[in-house]
Symmetry: C2
Subunit: 300 residues, 2 copies
C-alpha cells in the first residue's frame, strides 16, 4: 500500500488530501482520490494502466476531487479497459458530470457500483483474488470505510508427492480444489496428502473519516493492517467530536481492542506542523503504530 495523500480538508503545504494505492496481485486499487492524486501518481511512478478500480469513502472534496483530473487523463492516454468506481450513491452524479464535461472523447467505460445498505454482509466488489466490503462510518455525511480481504489462496502442490504417485500436471488444479487422486492400482490418495496449506489470506482496512465507531471495531478484528484516521490529538478532542473525527488515542484503542497487527494513522489536521505528538499518543496505547507518509509503501 502506497500513500499518495494523508492530509485533511484544509490545504497545506505538507500534505496532499486523502488517496492511497493498494496493490494486490498486479492489480492496483485507488482508495479515495483527493485533489492532486494523479500528480502524486506521476511523482511516485504509479502506472496509470494498472489502476483497476477506485473506492471513494464519501463526497467531501478532500476525498474525491482528484477524480475529474484522473478520469480525463485516462481519456487523454486512450485507456480502453473498463474502470470500476465504488462509492456512496451521490458519487454517481459526479461521475456522470465528469464524463459529460471533461471526457468528451470517451475511450473507456466506467462501471459505477453504489454502496448499498447491506454493505457489511456482502462484498461491494469482488474479483478473482479479492473481496471488498464497505463499512458504514459515523461522519457528517454518508461515508464508508473499505475492508479488502484476499480470497483464500489454493494450497500448494507437494512436488515430491505428485512425482511419487506419477500424477500428471493436468490433475494439479483439481487436487488444489481438494479432490482426491486415484492411482492405476485403485488407491485413493486424499488431496491433503498431496498439498500443503496456502498462506493465510491477508486483510487491509481503510477507515476515514469517522467518529470512533463500534461498527468499525466489529469489522476490523484481526486485520493485518489498519489505516485509521487520526485527524486530531487528544488536545483537540472537542473539535474531533464536533466534526465527527477521531483522535490518535481513540484510533489506537480501536487497533488494540481489535487485535489488528499494525496501525497507520493519517488524515492529519493542517494545524499540526509535526505529527510526532499524535504518533506518541497512539503508540502509548498501541505500540505497533506508524504515521502515514506520502510516497511511503507499507507491505502487508
Amino acid at each position: 500500500m502506497l500513500i499518495l495523500g494523508c492530509g485533511s480538508a484544509k490545504p497545506s503545504a505538507r500534505h496532499f488530501p486523502s488517496a492511497q494505492i493498494l496493490n494486490i496481485h498486479d492489480k492496483a486499487y485507488l482508495i479515495d482520490c483527493g485533489e492532486g492524486s494523479q500528480i502524486q501518481m506521476a511523482r511516485f511512478h504509479v502506472g496509470y494502466r494498472h489502476l483497476d478500480s477506485i473506492f471513494i469513502s464519501h463526497m467531501h472534496g478532500d476525498h474525491v476531487l482528484g477524480l475529474p483530473g484522473l478520469m480525463s487523463t485516462f481519456c487523454l492516454l486512450g485507456r480502453t479497459a473498463d474502470l470500476n468506481i465504488i462509492g456512496p450513491e451521490g458519487l454517481g452524479d459526479f461521475v456522470d458530470f465528469i464524463n459529460k464535461t471533461f471526457c468528451k472523447e470517451k475511450t473507456y467505460k466506467v462501471n459505477f457500483f453504489p454502496v448499498l445498505d447491506d454493505c457489511v454482509s456482502k462484498p461491494v466488489f469482488e474479483d478473482k483474488t479479492t473481496e471488498v466490503y464497505a463499512i458504514p462510518l459515523r461522519h457528517r455525511i454518508q461515508c464508508y470505510g473499505y475492508l479488502f480481504r484476499e480470497k483464500a489462496n489454493k494450497p500448494h502442490i507437494i512436488r515430491e508427492m505428485t512425482d511419487f504417485y506419477g500424477i500428471p500436471y493436468y490433475a494439479y488444479n483439481s487436487i488444489k480444489d481438494g479432490k482426491p487422486w486415484t492411482t492405476e492400482d485403485g488407491e485413493i490418495v486424499p488431496a491433503e496428502r498431496l498439498t500443503r496449506p496456502a498462506e493465510p489470506p491477508r486483510a487491509y482496512a481503510y477507515i476515514s473519516d469517522t467518529a470512533p465507531s463500534h461498527v468499525v471495531a466489529e469489522n476490523v478484528v484481526n486485520v493485518d493492517l489498519l489505516y485509521h484516521e487520526a485527524t486530531f490529538g487528544k488536545d483537540n478532542i472537542k473539535r474531533a467530536e464536533e466534526t465527527y473525527h477521531t483522535t490518535a488515542a481513540q484510533a489506537a484503542e480501536i487497533a488494540a481492542s481489535c487485535h489488528v497487527h499494525r496501525l497507520i494513522i493519517g488524515h492529519f489536521s493542517s494545524r499540526y506542523k509535526d505529527e510526532t505528538p499524535l504518533l506518541e499518543e497512539a503508540q502509548a496505547i498501541f505500540p505497533n503504530t506508524v504515521l502515514a507518509e506520502e510516497g511511503k509503501t507499507y507491505t502487508i
Copy 2:
C-alpha cells in the same frame, strides 16, 4: 505575477497544471485554476482572503479542475466576500454543480460573468484600478486569453506649486481630475501647471492554449509582460498544429512582432524533462524571454 503551475494536460512530477496569481494594488486575481492550485497557494503562502476574482481560459481539465477544491475551501474557511468568476459560458454549469455538490454550507456568493462574443471591444471585467479584456484564442474548444490593463493613474500634485498658490488639500482631487484652480485674485491656473504626469498604466496578457493567432497579435501590442503558451519546441511543430498549440519559436515571433517588453513561455508538454531548448529557441528570436517557473514572482 506568481506562477502556481505551468505544465500541460498530462500530469507530470515536474509541473502543476496552469494557474497563476496576478496581484494588482492589493487585490489578487487567479488566472486559470488547474488541479492542485489551492495546494500551490498554501505552499507559496498566497493568502486565500485576498483572492478577488478568477479568470478561466477554457474548459479543459488542466485549466479548471482546481476550482472545486478552492471553492469548497472558501466555504470551509467561512469566506464572506463575493467571488467573481469569469470564463466561457460552459463554466457556469460547472460552477453551479460545484456549489450544489461541494459547498453545501454556503458562506459567500459567486458572481459568474460569461465571456461573450464582443469581448475584445469591451472589458469582460472591471474594477477601480483594472480593466480586463478577453481575447478569443484558436484552440480545440472555446478558449480565451486575458489582457489586464491598469486604468490610467491620476497625475501627481506638485507640492511646491500648490504651496506657492496656497491651494488647500480638499482641492487636490479636482485638480488631479484636470480642473483648473482659480486664485483669490481671479488668476486661472491650469491643472497641467500643478501636476506632473502619472506613470503610464501597465498591461499584462495571459495567452494559453492556442495555435498562433493574429487576434492575439493584434491585442497584445506593447504590453509590459506577455505570458504565452509554448507547449512544444519546433521539433514537435506537427504535434503543435494537430493539437492547436504554439511552439516556443512561434511565441517568440509574436512577442517580437508586437513589441512586448518581456515574454514568459509556459504550458510545457510533459515530454520535456528540461525546457532549456525551448528557452533557447525563443531567445534566438526574442531575447527578453524567460521560462515560467512554479513559485517564481515576475514584477511588472
